[in-house]
């Protein structure tokens, strides 16, 4: 598992800014739902996905899934340094709700990591 390099990693708000400006992500063009992220060490974020287009929301009443993990692990995943699926299988990241939807988040992270 790749270690995170906190000196060069983006912050959580920077990552969500980046996600919000991403536009439609082709592999998810038929996928809609909402991710709730609940980070150890603070931070609570909602990301809406509308036919593959992500947007940050202040609140979503009924998120499709809730992802719980340390903020540093989320950053590593969002930076493409950590594999989301193995993080889930190891228990480093906990998913409640729709697991299949939660794992679609992997399509929102950079390809060239």
């Amino acid at each position: 598992m790749p270690a995170t390099d906190s000196a060069t990693d983006a912050t959580v708000p920077e990552i969500f800014d980046r996600l919000a400006s991403k536009g439609q992500v082709a592999p998810l063009r038929r996928t809609s739902g909402a991710y709730e992220f609940d980070f150890d060490g603070g931070g609570h974020w909602f990301l809406l996905l509308d036919h593959g287009t992500p947007s940050v929301q202040s609140k979503v009443e009924h998120p499709t899934c809730t992802v719980h993990c340390p903020a540093a692990d989320f950053v590593a995943i969002a930076e493409g340094k950590e594999n989301m699926i193995t993080a889930y299988l190891r228990g480093d990241l906990v998913c409640a709700g729709n697991l299949a939807f939660a794992l679609t988040f992997r399509h929102l992270i950079p390809v060239a990591a």
Partner: protein, 706 residues
């Protein structure tokens, strides 16, 4: 543990036990309760008064439930007991087990009933490869139940066992019940075994085998929705029903996907998504249960490669090989999250997409997956050819990857005729056939569905040039065969193998060369009398019990027969089909993954391959594809074309309610062909053979659309 085993399964949860229902697995035995590629129980032994009961019989009620009938052990071979034990087990998210002990005597009985439980939480790969654990095992009595657990960092897997009977004495290694049974009375308990990923907070609601009525109805619906077969040859009717039930059993909804149920590859080692196996099985089953193909296409599209990842052999556009959830995958000691080490899965995905649309008329899916199909085509040309010789080849990036990334994926499957191994990267011949077929099919889709005549023309030209080049480079005139592969040194890998049958299926073989291949396929060197061997007798690597070096694989033969039909060799196709279907009789109509390649004339029965999976998806699908091939069923627009060429032993055959673009249609045929194998029917075990009066007049082909 040796002896016959009993398996029940639901999704990727399954239990393998002995005939008495007990599990006492050594680290390398594939016995126990498995889920998420992890063994949640490796010991599960019922004892009465300190002895393991004697087994009277075992009844497979359904693929997800089984009943064991036993009497208390006496230590002798004589059984004369007033007590009888019934264990009924049902698998779900874990399993539940009803244990009933009846006392038929006029006297009260006092018994000590013990249920020993233990779990080693082995990753399925550890069981297969006999590896050691790195984390900590623990046992705990919690909330009146027994918790068996394993922890390695945040990776936690737990098994929680409860009993409806109180008082029970729960200890770290199982349950004890002091049981008093009145004369002619009965004692009963229900044990629930739940599984958990992560530390379980509450198991109060655990019901391991819940939803039984729902699953029973689901199986009924599955069978009712499939075509009905009536045939004068009993083995075919039996293997047909067996195949449909086993396919139902192997369907599963992967935890990481929401696209519907697709076939897992096989029990016990391969209860997971495999790109190649899922596609082949879906192709075989397409005329019977087309929804499986749609689920497969959507699932594989969802996990199509997006990046270059050398650990996982992932590349943009590539279709996955295998998905696993166990500890070794979680800690990235194995690359299966998912792993992409298959060079054929990507063209096979494209072939299935076209074949699915042709059969069902569901062109919306072709439109929906246009982007993924284009990415797959791009993978073929951008990444598929590693050494620039124009052929799709493979070479793993890391030691944890697969050495051979074709269907014959054992390390020593691609050998020269002298028995020596070839060099990587290897471009096996059947992959080139799939690539050709995929391009031809996608040209049609590009023109008719994606409205891209430019792409269509390019694909047609590319495919035509590829066919010419292939027939020049792979053909071995002196051997009358295509080469098995071209290796990393550019050498022709010259063994004679069953792979040439796949070339017929794909249509890449020139007509004159196809005729020579048919001669070889039907010769004693390749055809064992039961089926076509993976490698010909006389080759340096030939071994009738070598995994890919001489065994007979039913799925391989179903593709070969399909290829023989494509080139007009209908009698030969029927001969291959009859041989394999006759073999199925010896396996209780459930074809194994593979069986030995000994000549039929020598052994008289198909010799079992020691570690073959059963049921295995593409072996299960093989009879279905044989049926399609022998009935000559092809979709033509909104119509089903039926051109039967059936062995005369089949007599009259009716296949009704075949789903497709036409709605539902029926196919009828009468046996007219002498395959030369029918006279061996009386040697089959357990079959009732109808009198044979010789080849009957052919019944005209027809299809009816309702």
């Amino acid at each position: 543990m040796s002896g016959p085993k009993v398996s029940i399964l639901e999704g990727n949860t399954f239990i393998v036990s002995d005939r008495g229902g007990n599990v006492s697995a050594s680290p390398s035995d594939a016995e126990g309760l498995f889920a998420w590629d992890t063994r949640f129980l490796s010991r599960w032994v019922l004892k009465v008064d300190g002895l393991v009961p004697n087994v009277l019989s075992t009844d497979d009620l359904n693929y997800f439930e089984v009943q064991f009938f036993q009497v208390p052990g006496t230590g002798t071979i004589y059984v004369d007991s007033d007590l009888s034990i019934m264990r009924k087990r049902s698998v779900g998210n874990g399993f539940s087990e009803d244990i009933a002990i009846t006392n038929e005597s006029p006297n009260a009985a006092h018994l000590l009933v013990e249920l020993e439980a233990g779990a080693d939480f082995a990753d399925l790969f550890e069981v297969k490869d006999k590896q050691e654990k790195k984390g900590e095992l623990y046992q705990d009595v919690r909330d009146g139940g027994l918790v068996l657990g394993y922890k390695r960092d945040h990776f936690v897997r737990e098994t929680f066992i409860t009993s409806t009977t109180r008082p029970a004495t729960v200890s770290r290694d199982g349950f004890r019940f002091e049981v008093d049974i009145e004369p002619h009375g009965e004692w009963h308990t229900r044990i629930d075994v739940g599984i958990s990923l992560g530390p379980a907070t509450s198991h109060a609601g655990v019901q391991g085998g819940a939803e039984r009525p729902v699953r029973g109805k689901d199986l009924d619906r599955w069978l009712e929705g499939s075509p009905t077969l009536q045939c004068d040859w009993p083995p075919l009717s039996r293997v047909y029903v067996r195949s449909l039930i086993d396919l139902a059993a192997l369907r599963f909804q992967p935890h990481v996907l929401s696209e519907g149920a697709l076939p897992a590859a096989g029990l016990p080692w391969f209860m997971s998504v495999f790109g190649r196996d899922s596609v082949i099985t879906s192709l075989q089953a397409l005329p019977f249960v087309p929804d499986m193909a749609k689920a497969t296409l959507l699932a594989l599209a969802a996990f199509q490669g997006t990046r270059v990842d050398e650990f996982r052999d992932e590349e943009p556009g590539k279709i996955l090989h295998e998905f696993r959830y166990g500890e070794l995958t979680a800690f990235e000691e194995r690359p299966h999250s998912p792993y992409y080490g298959a060079a054929d899965a990507t063209p096979l995905f494209l072939i299935l997409l076209d074949e699915y649309a042709r059969w069902t008329g569901d062109y919306q899916l072709v439109r929906d997956l246009e982007l993924e199909a284009r990415a797959a085509l791009k993978w073929i040309d951008d990444y598929g050819d590693r050494n620039g010789d124009g052929y799709v080849d493979y070479q793993r990036h890391m030691e944890t990857g697969l050495e051979n990334q074709c269907w014959k994926d054992s390390w020593n499957s691609i050998l020269f005729a002298d028995g020596s191994n070839s060099k990587l990267p290897r471009a096996t011949c059947e992959i080139q056939g799939y690539v050709y077929d995929a391009k031809v099919r996608c040209a049609r889709l590009a023109r008719e569905v994606w409205n891209d005549p430019g792409l269509a023309q390019w694909l047609e030209q590319s495919a035509a040039a590829f066919k010419t080049k292939f027939n020049r480079d792979y053909w071995m005139e002196d051997r009358g065969s295509y080469a098995l592969a071209i290796d990393g040194d550019g050498r022709i890998v010259d063994s004679i193998t069953s792979n040439i049958g796949h070339l017929l299926w794909s249509g890449i073989a020139d007509e004159d060369k196809a005729a020579r291949c048919v001669e070889l396929l039907m010769s004693d060197r390749l055809f064992s009398g039961w089926g076509v061997r993976t490698m010909a007798v006389g080759e340096g690597g030939y071994n009738p019990i070598g995994y890919h070096l001489g065994t007979v694989w039913p799925h391989d033969n179903s593709i070969i027969a399909w290829g023989l039909k494509r080139y007009g060799y209908r009698v030969e196709a029927a001969r291959v089909g009859v041989g394999i279907l006759q073999a199925s009789v010896f396996f209780d109509h459930r074809l194994p993954e593979a069986f030995a390649g000994y000549p039929r004339a020598r052994t008289r029965y198909p010799v079992e391959y020691p570690t073959a999976c059963s049921p295995q998806a593409w072996a299960t699908g093989a009879p279905l594809l044989f049926l399609r091939t022998m009935l000559g069923m092809e979709p033509i627009g909104q119509h089903l074309l039926v051109e039967p060429k059936l062995p005369f032993r089949f007599g009259s055959l009716h296949l009704t309610d075949i789903p497709g673009a036409w709605g539902r249609a029926d196919a009828f045929g009468r046996g007219t062909i002498d395959t030369g194998l029918e006279h061996l029917d009386p040697l089959l075990l357990g079959t009732t053979v109808a009198p044979v009066t010789g080849p009957a007049a052919g019944q005209p082909a027809r299809s009816e659309v309702r």
